[in-house]
Every structure is written in C-alpha cells, then in structure tokens.
Symmetry: C2
C-alpha cells in the first residue's frame, strides 16, 4: 500500500529513543496536522465541565485495516465517540492504544493516524493520550487500535437499553449494512457496480441536536457488530417488550441489498458504524424525524417499527412480500473482524 | 496450561449471543468474584469527586502472558493505575479491552480475569467497562489487553517530568529489574536458584501516603519499559538538568543481578512494574523515606542520586567499583514484549 518502505520495527515499541522518535515524527504530526499538537502524555490532564461522566472502551481489529469509506483510524475514533453519545453523554476526550505488527509500513501508519486526526478535528473532540506497542511479525495482524473515551452526561437525560415502552416507535437515521459490506468487499476483492462505502461517522452532533431539541428519548443504541437484528433483540430483551419492525421502511442501499443477496447475508445482521436506533414515544416521532432529516447524518431517517404487546423479547418483522418472520439475535460470528 | 480444553472461538467476538455468554459466564464472574458484578456496560456511568481529571491508556502484549509473580491481567490493571498515580491523580475507574486469539483456553481467560479482579479489589478501584474482540488463530498472540483509566487530580499538586531542580534528590521505592527478569525467565525457561518474581503492584496508595503526608514532590515516574535508565534520562532531558546516580545505593536483588550478568543486561535498563522514582527537594527526603519505608511497597526505599549542575540532560552513575559512567537512553528494543 505504501510506496516508502520504511517499516515499523520492534524497537519502535521499546519505550526508548525509537519510540520517542516514532511518536514525535510520525504519530503526532499525522494525528494533529498543521495546527500542532497538544503533547501526547502518558497521562493527560483534562477538565470536565461536570462530575457526571461516561467512560467507554473498544478495540478495533478490522480486516483489512483500510476499506472503501475509511480505515481503522477514523473507524476507531468514531466508534468510541458513538458509544459515549449513545449513553446520552457529550464526548470530551479520546485515548488511543496502538498495537502494531513488526513490518507495518510507516506510511500506512501515517494514513491511519491522519484519518484518526481528521475524524477528531471534524468531531471537535481531542485525542489526549496514547500508547504504542509493537509485536513481532506474525504475532498480530498489521494494526489493532483501542480507543477509550470520556464523556459528560447531561442532567435530566435517562437513556437506557431497558427504556423501551409499549407504544414507542423505533427510528433509524439511514441505510443499514453499508459498513459490513464495504469491509467484506475490500476483504474478498468483490466489485459491485455501485461501490459500497462504509458509513463510519461520529453521531454525537446528531444526538446533541435531538436532545437540545427537547426530544424525549427512551432508548438509543448504535447497531454495530451483529447489525440491526442484534441491537433490536437486545432492546426488546432488556426492556421486556416485543418489537415489530416493518422491512419496507428500513432504508437499504441497492448495492448493499445486491451484495447481501450474493453473499447470502441478511442485511439486518450486517454491521453499521454510523447508524443509531432511537426508541421514543410516538408523540415525539415527528419532531425527532424532522430534526434528524435536517442533519447531514440523518437525511434518510425513518420510522422502522414499534414496541408492541407481544411476547417479551420477541422481535418480528413484516416482510416486503407480506407475512412476517421472527428476528433472532445472531448466535455467533457472521462477518468476523468487521470492526 | 488449562486442563479444561474449552476454547475461545471467533464467535465469542461476534457481538451476538456467544459474546453475551462469554461476558456473563466467564468474564464477569472471574472479574468480580463472589461479591457480584456491577454490570459491564458498553459505556459506564461514573461520578467523579472533581472535574480535574487524568486520563491514560496502555496496551499490554507481554509474552508469555503468565510469569512468576503475576499474569497479564493484574499487570494491565496495575500498570494503568500507576500511570494515573504518577501524575498525582487518584484513580477512580479502569476500562478493559480484550483482544483474544481464537483457540485461547477459556480456563486461561478465567485465570487472567481473576488476577485482574483481585488486583482491582486489592486496589479498591473498579473495572467499569469492557470490550472483547477475537481474531483468528495466528492473527494475535494468545491475549492482548488494553486498560485505560480515569483519575481525579489533587488540588495544589503539580508533578511533572520537567519538575526536577538542582539540589533535588532522587528516590526509588525498592529493587530494580525484577519484572523484566521474571518475564525473561518464564519466556526462556531459565531457572535461577532464587526464583525472581515480578514486582507488579499498584502504587497509588504509596503515592497517596506521600501526598497526604505533605511531602513536596517535583517529579514522579514509574520506570517500566526501558527501566530506570530510560526514566532518569527522560527526567534529566525534560527538566533540563544533569543527574548523578550512585550505583551502590540502587537496590538490586541478588538473583536479578546474577540473571543480568548471565544475560548480558544492565539492570538499569530492565523493566519494573511496581517501582517509582521520586524527585524532591533534599529537605523533604527524610520525611519521604520514612513514609515510604512504612508502606508495604516501599520497605527498601533509598536515595539513589541527585540533580546536579552538569551538562543539561546528562546522566552519570558512580559505579560500585569507583569511577563513573554515562547512562544513555536505550536506543531500541532490549527486552521485547515485557509489558
């Protein structure tokens, strides 16, 4: 991928001079760009606007590490921002832990760090601390990234997986399955007429718009690994309700639909990285949809189902061709290493 | 290592039912033990006693993952606690990101999680959130763990790598090189007459005793990767001072000294995981040493050097046999994958 064949060596993970050089000459310039760097300390000092915090962590092992629409750098940044946002918190600081395989190209590391830095600037949330480890060739797969994040909770907002109530409606902010299919196409070398791009994006400004707009939200989740099916099943189980989805209302790109048919996948089980599920009272739906469609990440927002009085934990889907089918939480791995 | 050959599979990292089972049946019981678990949420809600925070991250890739005196679980927990403590912060919450290689034994995962849980209970600091990824066999090396941590800074305490001043003394809380030699002995199958144990320990209570005791500290660091030499060189460079160490005063276990001689290593460059370097005014030294020697982790505390008026960044060491030698920051990897 990289032309310059300067490579990461074991010494770059030693904690000694080579590590200092790697951080100073590659990571920091790529991550912080022209606007210069806040020093990457072992331990960063941050000042929170409140003492009510959210704290989250996620490791990213996506394969391949670059795919249409992004790479592991922006993916790792956005994913942790979204975990914080889904708890109703405003993200204030992100950490980055790199595990590099010996022989990873320095220029590829620059690409990843640049993508993360751009995602951070776009989101307005800083990467404040980091760590770099290098393992011998064959002991990791190119690059793994852990991001952890701290956010500040809003007063008076209570959003939980268990918050869905009978009569609530289910809203999604756009098409499903894009991220998973983008990664699969890069991994398998598949070509579609219309290339599928990952939807990786930071959703905190969309959440902020909804909460600032006074929308009452009962539950909010991002359907990543395991896709929409897993998230909806979790909400139904945790909230002890039944949920009825309407397949005709679930936004789906034609290319993703085609790829899923080709690969024998149900798009409802394919990962998303820039999507959120909202569960809220029906009376709030119109306002929510209006706010969401006015945001760049919500233009295809749609009501895709409702909470009903069926058997607790049961998720059913009205299909496009009529009739309905039961949606189960996928048991094991459908698309491995999608994030 | 494990007798029960139940193994981690790719499905355990899917985010679906197997992941839920792994978390519920293996990770949470081992981590939280009999006292029961606070739910491991994607995003944990924590309430800080103040808005002035420290935030840190570290990934652990130690090989082998178990060694005399500990395993990757307590090592990862203690290491991040120490990063927070060294900034003068009281740790309040730790996150855990697991990357598992397909085929890792479930009983080994239980061992690691149990060690982490015991370290957390001993430290009185909770693991509040986690994430689990699984990669195919051959794409990682058994187990990697990222821990990130949030701490609360103390008012009025200013401790920086750049804080050392002329006339200050350098104190260490005990013997050097134990962790590195313990890991090397496990890796290479070396046997010493007196087995060397890792010194992995959480240092926050020792730091707390010093700060509660009113000791004025200019700089505080834990000499991990790269050992005492790297940390002292960093302090000298960042503080723009010279440092003179006295080798006769640096505590060293006989077995570690012997192993270093055998392996051709300088114990000053070998990693520690339960040691701290304090730089403070000479007038504070007696009080500091007295407090430290009264703490279980500081019984062999010793003044090992002082800040002098030599060339900026220069570190010299008076040797046991007389004469002195210059100490340089190790360039690259001395002992790979030591943490």
């Amino acid at each position: 991928m990289a032309k310059n064949r300067e490579l990461v060596t074991l010494g770059h993970g030693s904690g000694g001079k080579l590590t200092h050089d790697l951080i100073g000459e590659v990571i920091v310039p790529a991550l912080y760009g022209a606007e210069g760097a806040p020093p990457m300390e072992d331990s960063a000092l941050i000042t929170a606007p409140s003492t009510a915090l959210s704290f989250t962590t996620d490791s990213y092992v996506v394969s391949p590490w670059v795919f249409p629409g992004g790479n592991i750098g922006d993916l790792a940044f956005n994913g942790t921002v979204n975990d914080l946002a889904m708890s109703g918190a405003d993200p204030i600081a992100i950490s980055m832990g790199l595990i590099l395989e010996e022989g990873f190209a320095m220029d590829d590391l620059r690409l990843v760090m640049t993508a993360m830095g751009e995602a951070a600037r776009k989101a307005g949330i800083p990467v404040v601390c980091g760590d770099t480890k290098v393992v011998p060739h064959g002991k990791a797969d190119a690059i793994f990234i852990n991001t952890s994040g701290v956010g500040v909770r809003r007063g008076g907002v209570e959003i939980r997986a268990s918050g869905a109530r009978q009569g609530d409606v289910i809203i999604i902010n756009g098409t499903i399955g894009d991220h998973g299919i983008a990664v699969m196409s890069a991994r398998e070398g598949l070509r579609f007429q219309a290339p599928v791009q990952s939807d990786t994006a930071a959703l905190h400004t969309l959440v902020r718009a909804l909460l600032d707009g006074g929308v009452e939200v009962h539950s909010m989740r991002d359907p990543t690994r395991g896709g929409l099916a897993t998230t909806i099943c979790e909400i139904a189980a945790d909230s002890k309700v039944a949920i009825l989805l309407d397949e005709r209302e679930i936004p789906l790109n034609e290319a993703v639909a085609g790829a899923c048919e080709l690969l024998g996948l149900d798009p409802m089980t394919v990962a998303n990285e820039g999507k959120m599920i909202l569960v809220l009272p029906e009376r709030e739906a119109e306002k929510a949809i209006s706010i969401m469609r006015g945001h760049p990440l919500g233009q295809r927002s749609s009501i895709i189902g409702r909470v009903t009085d069926g058997r607790v934990g049961r998720v059913t889907c009205l299909s496009v061709v009529g009739g309905d089918r039961v949606i189960n939480m996928p048991h094991g791995e459908i698309l491995p290493r999608i994030c």
